[in-house]
Symmetry: C2
Subunit: 252 residues, 2 copies
Amino acid sequence: MNQMNVMVQRQLGHRTIREFKDMRIPEKVFDTLLAVARRTATSNGMQSYSIIRVTDPSIKKEIANVCNQEYVGRVPELLIFVVDQFRNNRIAKEKGTVTENAADMDRFFQGFTDACLALQNVVNAAESMDLGVVYLGSILNDSAKICEILKLPKLTFPVLGLGIGYPNQNPQLKPRLENRLRVFENSYGVFDNYLEEIKEYDREMTTYYDLRNANRRVDSFSDQVAAKLSNSMPNRQEMLKVIGRQGFRLQV
Amino acid sequence: MNQMNVMVQRQLGHRTIREFKDMRIPEKVFDTLLAVARRTATSNGMQSYSIIRVTDPSIKKEIANVCNQEYVGRVPELLIFVVDQFRNNRIAKEKGTVTENAADMDRFFQGFTDACLALQNVVNAAESMDLGVVYLGSILNDSAKICEILKLPKLTFPVLGLGIGYPNQNPQLKPRLENRLRVFENSYGVFDNYLEEIKEYDREMTTYYDLRNANRRVDSFSDQVAAKLSNSMPNRQEMLKVIGRQGFRLQV
């Protein structure tokens, strides 16, 4: 049973949960989630990310507005993971060292990576304790607004939000691309005809019911891709500019 | 025992492993890792990342050179996680849709996030099956070179490498910043004097033995931060430029 343990079973059964029971997460369980975040691997040991726990209902609502997702205002726990070079910059400054490197894009990406790793680690801990989660990439619909709402100082930047609680829904597993289309050996593999390669996956996707859309079937994957790529959100295009305004040196 | 299950115990005990037993990972175990990657949450369901499994010893060595870490050439399994908007761009193109949005930075960051989440999910699966891992942010020492080595097409970009195998060392747990310094409520918290706040942590760090440095004690955290921020690697400063050369529209 080694290659199919309980943890792996949970991971293989991951689904996004958007509706939660009206039930608080016990303090001990929540502290465990934060303890796991703290122990997550971090680039160069620099620990260049932070977490904002949003408990104020009015702030939650403001964030829900940015996300354009009403349920965000109702998640039992809402954590926002942020790149944080502010703290180490201050530490170096107090040490009397030159610190302008804290603002470079290398450090930005290190912090961005740290934040994502910690978040996924928290997700796995949460799901192992019967909690469910929703990832909120939608906080980046307006990253400048999130910086303002959470009073993020220079050299910090929001990465991803996470809603956590006890699941009050049981969604279907969402079909996924086969690994042969995205795991390659030694060099990237290009296919001649992608629509042909994903035919079966396209078919499978149309049998999936997305709870968000009143139990209506969804489009095939290729139709979803085509639709998504036909649109882009203006504010989300400004991300690099906002990163620059938060004090990072873009140097392009 | 709910709030301290086996998974959480593994997560709290995470250490980087750099020396592995000369032992292959059984096919079934490895397939399970890839199955977990496949089921990881993904932004908008777009699955915009890919994995390159490096099995060719000469390619491993080339990557070890970029990493400037000899042991990378000897890891039993080496996976490179990459942003991948190439695939969806091709799917949309074959559908006859406008696809220039695949090149925007919003999509780049979605792919970057997807790649990090999948990697951490794989790490947790690996550790739950008694494997150990080393994260390789050092592949970005020369991201252009990695693109070349792995033949990464336009609209892809390397994010992070992962070495996996059965541990042949048992390093000490590395001390970490207290959560009160990086978990805040409702808005970012700034401290007046960081050196004062981390005094105890600084002390604790000097009692930690890093196996990399022949069991010599390491510097205090604030000394490490000051030293790290005094340096920056020129090639790593070029990351945004390389992202642009890989076809992403920087638009700053």
